[in-house]
Symmetry: C2
Subunit: 234 residues, 2 copies
DNA sequence: AACCGTCTGTTCGGTTCCGCACATAAATTT
DNA sequence: AAATTTATGTGCGGAACCGAACAGACGGTT
């Protein structure tokens, strides 16, 4: 049971609900802390909880046989995890890993499913978000096909910035490389190039964004495209 | 109104419905021919009809600004078009182009939406298919990131073969290149390599598959992965 | 202060794929 | 039969990225 949720910020999807609908849902929720490196789900797991991040960032990671995990999208307080429950699918296709510590509202899967069936207003909002998620998958697919690493790195950094509202990102180049599905050396080069353009700087284990607009210009169209889809749909 | 539909084969999604449910749906449907090159939808269009291919193949194509269209997936009688209506989204995100002539069952969008709300059995089946479509998007995204062109070409050819049940594919290398998002020359080389391995042969405007198992071995894991997801979900 | 593990920088050769250009070959039109 | 269009084959230089290896730099530990 959640009362003074505003003390922790809030989730933008839940904010789109009417006060009534949200309050009703929150009576079944609990606020949990999510900690860097924590794995919230593994592919194949049965979904027990649905998570709405309030603070912090979770990566949504796909693996295909023979290749390592890579990041499909980052999920912060603009989104949720386990959207497939809307379709009645209770098995997770991806791994979800906490990339920035924070808090999330979570609700047992069974109650979530029940609430979605009972409240058309809820499913209306979440259906739209499901569509956003599908379009993000199409976008990253095209991005992987057409765009250069430096642009994709810029995009990923902007996604972090946007979801954390912080210009400092605590992450190593090796982690960024794994997220992008490339070698660490590739990230070193791309990051060096962005630094030489005075868009970012970095020290051991963290990246600082200096020029957001410049970084947007250096990133591929995908960052803005994802945002545009989200704003249009939600 | 469709009676003797079996004369034209059938759609595997609709076949999963109970006889009652299917018959009820079919009273609102009509059978239309779909012809090579015909564009069934453009991105941004409002959905007027939902299509269930019975014979023939439709490509589902995404474009991002600054890059050409490329093929996310092929849809034959195992699938349907405009699945986003399930989520209440009546705008198409992609272009749909007929790649092999045939027939499709179509139903007006409004009636489809109505039927989905009325019949839980219908939405159950289609929700699962929606999940298949999402997983296909994740798979092609990873495929674009990790797999070599020759393997991806083999995969695409197998997708054609599987959906048409024919070992001869009427298509040019230029069209294949556009589908894969690469140069025509790249396809020429990859196809030449597959031919030298006696897996396929080709003449002006068509490819003939000689060794399906060999082609599966030469393709990336994505072909089998997509099939496995479909079979598991449906 | 010395050590060790982690993070970043750099180099090397090799492969894939790119853009561009041009040659050949098959089908279609005139 | 000749001309035109369309489809396929080949060559060239270059960019992006790969795998592997190693060097240096920074932090925390003992």
């Amino acid at each position: 049971m959640l009362n003074n949720l505003t003390a922790f910020g809030s989730n933008r999807l839940l904010n789109l609900l009417t006060d009534n609908c949200r309050q009703n849902l929150l009576t079944h929720c609990e606020l949990v802390s999510i900690n860097l490196g924590e794995v919230l789900s593994n592919p194949g797991d049965v979904i027990t909880y649905v998570y709405f991040p309030v603070e912090g960032i979770v990566s949504w990671e796909k693996q295909i046989t023979g290749s390592p995990y890579w990041v499909v999208t980052l999920i912060g307080n603009e989104g949720m995890l386990c959207i497939s429950l809307l379709l009645g699918i209770n098995v997770r296709p991806c791994r979800a890993v906490v990339q920035k510590s924070g808090f999330a509202i979570r609700i047992p899967a069974a109650i979530f499913t029940q609430q979605v069936e009972l409240k058309p207003a809820l499913s209306l909002v979440l259906n739209r978000y499901a569509n956003v998620i599908y379009n993000q998958a199409l976008q990253i697919a095209a991005c992987n096909l057409f765009h250069l690493l430096e642009n994709r790195l810029a995009r990923l950094l902007l996604m972090f910035q946007h979801r954390s509202q912080s210009d400092e990102i605590h992450i190593t180049q090796d982690q960024l490389a794994k997220m992008l599905g490339v070698r660490r050396v590739g990230v070193t080069k791309a990051a060096g190039s962005l630094q030489r353009k005075n868009l970012i700087s970095y020290v051991r284990g963290s990246v600082i964004i200096h020029d957001i607009d410049g970084l947007k210009a250096a990133s591929c169209v995908c960052y803005e495209a994802d945002n545009a889809t989200y704003n249009k749909m939600m």
